[in-house]
Symmetry: C2
Subunit: 358 residues, 2 copies
């Protein structure tokens, strides 16, 4: 089955970019694709109708957050994350590992898994490769991710090596556990190895050998300079098989998307479009703008002159600035919508140009 879930429709003649289709239990996903992040069973401030209108095909959910609140039991009772949050298209969930390391207290890694305290109430939790698969089974995620250890930046080689080896062990365990009962859910492998090319190569080769239906590049966009990120995207992607989807985790700024697609990446997720919007930053063809700026006080133009989103069709920069300055919730709704629409449309446009060979 692992070979049939992805189809490359066209490879660009001008770069390593490709346009494809990923088949999931909740329908096909046209790649390249950007996945907005719905941390707590909601893409912050947007209804699922708005997400569909914005052209979103697949959402990302955070296993760490969802397992703490509302909890896997409730999601299971609801028949999964989809029906709980009123989203009938595909969902990818991460393993929760990343948040364990960035949010929780008192985390302790052993060969078996990671113990930690909930950032919400301090209660003790324990994630193992198998448990994280079970959680994602309760969520009925279309694409699951295995527990891994994402090394920080900068990080000593020795620690990156340790993180990587434990990641490999956990991914192998996750893969074996998953194969016993896949239930139409895909499991992707994750490449780690920090900013060490030899480790990246070892990690990629090891993970690819485990034969997952797709592969993710982890451990990037963790604070490193953009040129280093780009170097490691280019370097790592070449070790991933051409006939499998490639997912670059945590990257989603317009400029980074364009670069990574050219290097052959198919999938992206990032909180930036919505988080930036909530802080007044909006994407435009002329770069990022801060809606708070005084110059927009009486500006009747839309955020982006060419954008066709609801926000740009009906609202001016001056109005959005007013809402933002007045701390109105609608500012966040309208600007989040624009940023999601913008990134989604950008990726769709690039896909179009790959298919049209332009």
């Amino acid at each position: 089955m692992a070979k049939d879930v992805f189809k490359v429709l066209k490879k660009s003649k001008y770069s390593k970019a490709r346009a494809g289709i990923l088949f999931t239990a909740h329908g096909p996903v046209e790649t390249p694709v950007f996945m907005p992040v719905g941390t707590q069973a909601t893409v912050k401030s947007l209804t699922t109708d708005m997400l569909k209108e914005a052209g979103v095909q697949v959402l990302l959910g955070n296993t760490y957050h969802l397992s703490l609140r509302p909890g896997a039991e409730l999601l299971k009772e609801f028949g999964g994350l989809h029906s709980f949050m009123n989203w009938d298209k595909p969902v990818l969930t991460d393993s929760g590992g990343y948040q364990v390391f960035s949010l929780s207290n008192m985390r302790k890694i052993t060969q078996e898994g990671v113990s930690f305290k909930s950032h919400l109430d301090g209660s003790k939790k324990f994630f193992t490769p198998e448990k994280v698969i079970d959680l994602q089974r309760s969520f009925k995620s279309d694409i699951m991710m295995p527990l891994d250890v994402c090394s920080p930046y900068p990080c000593e080689r020795e620690k990156v090596l340790l993180d990587m080896n434990i990641t490999h062990k956990w991914e192998r365990a996750a893969g074996e556990y998953w194969r016993k009962n896949t239930m139409n859910q895909l499991l992707f492998g994750i490449v780690q190895g920090g900013m060490y090319k030899d480790l990246r190569e070892i990690s990629a080769r090891e993970i690819v050998q485990m034969d997952f239906p797709g592969y993710a590049i982890g451990g990037l966009s963790v604070g490193e300079p953009v040129d280093i990120m780009e170097e490691y995207i280019s370097f790592t992607v070449d070790f991933l098989p051409e006939d499998k989807p490639r997912y670059l985790m945590g990257v989603g700024l317009p400029e980074n998307l364009e670069f990574a697609i050219r290097k052959g990446v198919d999938m992206f997720d990032c909180v930036a479009p919505t988080r930036l919007a909530r802080h007044g930053h909006v994407f435009t063809k002329e770069g990022k703008k801060n809606i708070r700026n005084k110059e927009f006080f009486d500006d009747k133009k839309p955020i982006d002159l060419e954008c066709r989103c609801y926000t740009c069709k009906y609202y001016s920069r001056a109005y959005l600035r007013h809402l933002f300055v007045a701390k109105e919730i609608l500012a966040m709704v309208l600007m989040s919508y624009h940023n999601i629409y913008y990134v989604t449309s950008l990726v769709k446009e690039i896909r179009g140009s790959i298919l049209a060979e332009t």
Copy 2:
């Protein structure tokens, strides 16, 4: 012109309720009608598309807030509040008086007007009856309200009398100023007089003599017990002409609406539906519910079993409770939408039953 803007289509046989149509520069309004409050050029958390979907016919804007931010100049540049906030249906704006007395510092009333300091930056402002009309002309409001003094509750007779007399003076001045150039904007008179029946009667007779296209009952819903409010609604409304629209200011809870419509009131505004929603309180046929309650943790039912709004169609109490507990913006969006839809539909239903004579 004052006589042609309102038409009573049907009077109930069972109460003083009536169904009518109010004609404005931005189209007709079917009465009775509930007007959501869009304080700062937005009904908090909702897009104007959502408001239309919820069946909203007319919005209320706050002159005090709008004049401070974004300011009348900017709204004038945009051709009015409608195009600024993307709302092409009718708008009613209040006079700003109420907020001057509840929000601003250092207010001082003279016969000419009220001086006060902005609650935003402390800058000195001065409202006169004429200035407040000019502000609302900049906004291009369909229905304007004259500057008045709303007595608090409880309040000594002597102060209520003073407030009332200055209100009458200001309304007369506003009326004269408005008649010089109505520009398709209606001006309603406001009855004050606190909780003193003789003063209420004097105020109503005096204001009605000034011959406005509509009349408002002010000075209620200011902290008095419900039975007193109801008593003064019933008492005051009978002094208002039958052929003019009657607007009860600041009232909008489902139970109060039903009462007031039966007494012959046609128009309402209130922040409660959206403010309550932002605090987790939602309207249902079984009364108000607090979505935060533990009992809703795994409740798969919609907020209200009969409600047909987007929120009730697609989202469960459990999901909304989760969003609210997790402090997600979408909780406010979805619950505000429900409460606005609920009140709007309730009033529409009552109108239907008046027309159907049931």
